[in-house]
């Protein structure tokens, strides 16, 4: 029992997953970098303000120059982050596409296999055989039904005709008039009385 996780399970993490993770790690690092720079910028801004107040204009200018440069860096990192994120999305989407193709492949194989079982020749053969079997059965039926000749058949048919002719004499039409109206049967309908039951 204690060794339940000791056995080596096949890792479900693919190479692509690792690549995605690496990209995301890079992105995280950039984000942390951005955070750092933003904080830094904030601080430098206040320092520059202070310098201006103290009348050290040149120094303030220098500081602002530095700040501008860092802002540019920040923008660049933004671009890089979006690049990384796009890459991650591409990989993820391609993985999905791969799965779709795999699914289609399996479906195709399955269909092919079924078609192999159901080849056209096979179907033809089966239908032929069925036809043959029906024919065979008919022959057996004939043999078992006794040996009526064609004349016998004719005679039988003639007799059948005669009988049906006789039968055609219809019974007489009843002479009594029909009852005027069928007394209306009162429909038995017990309408359930709707009653409000107090909620218990």
């Amino acid at each position: 029992m204690g060794n339940l996780f000791g056995r080596k399970r096949r890792s479900r993490v693919t190479e692509q997953d690792k690549a995605v993770l690496q990209l995301k790690q890079q992105r995280d690092k950039l984000k942390q970098y951005q955070k750092r720079i933003s904080l830094h910028l904030e601080r430098e801004r206040t320092v520059a303000l202070q310098l201006l107040k103290d009348g050290k204009k040149e120094k303030a200018k220098l500081l602002l120059k530095k700040k501008r440069y860092q802002e540019q860096l920040l923008e660049k990192t933004d671009n890089q982050i979006s690049n990384l994120e796009r890459m991650v999305q591409d990989i993820e989407f391609t993985q999905i596409e791969m799965k779709v193709i795999e699914g289609l492949k399996i479906g195709n194989e399955c269909l092919n296999k079924m078609h192999q079982v159901m080849s056209v020749e096979e179907v033809e053969r089966i239908i032929d055989e069925t036809q043959d079997a029906i024919e065979y059965q008919r022959q057996i039926d004939e043999m078992l039904a006794g040996s009526f000749t064609e004349e016998d058949e004719d005679a039988i048919l003639a007799e059948l005709d005669a009988i049906t002719q006789e039968q055609i004499d219809l019974p007489e039409v009843p002479s009594e008039p029909l009852p005027e109206k069928i007394p209306e049967t009162s429909p038995i309908r017990v309408k359930p009385k709707t009653e409000l039951v107090a909620a218990s």
Partner: protein, 175 residues
Amino acid sequence: MMSFESPWQYSFPPFFTLQPNVDTRQKQLTAWCSLVLSYCRLNKLYTMTVTEAQESPLFNNRKLQRKLPLESILVVLEELRKKGNLEWLDKNKSSFLVLWRRLEEWSKLIYQWVSKNGLTNSVFTLYELSNGDDTENEEFHGLEESLLLRALQALQQEHKAEIITLDDGRGVKFF
């Protein structure tokens, strides 16, 4: 910092002295425990040292000029440990980890977020989970990494996640 809904006991001076009567004391300890947990939850505190705790508004009511003495603090912390809401981080019992949500609860929360957002089968960095923009509104945002890792390990045992270790840092894939 101190803006949490403090229970009435917090402004009740005797609350800051451990009561001798067993029943009263038990009730008092329970109240202290829930106070500690809600305080940590509100301030998203995970690890503290005892000294830190001693000075924090939690055990030090400045308005009332009352402090819970160190021995009593240790009693409260020990009580929390018995309940499974606290772990000592060192042998000297000088710093501790507060689990205002138990580990299972954390893993459940994380996995709920994952499945609610259709993120199964995706890879995350641990930083992304605890500090990313996507989890900003989740309770586990800002969760301490060691705790996060343990919650994820629990999910791994349930085969709901797999932790990936790359040369520089860890990630996790959810299933």
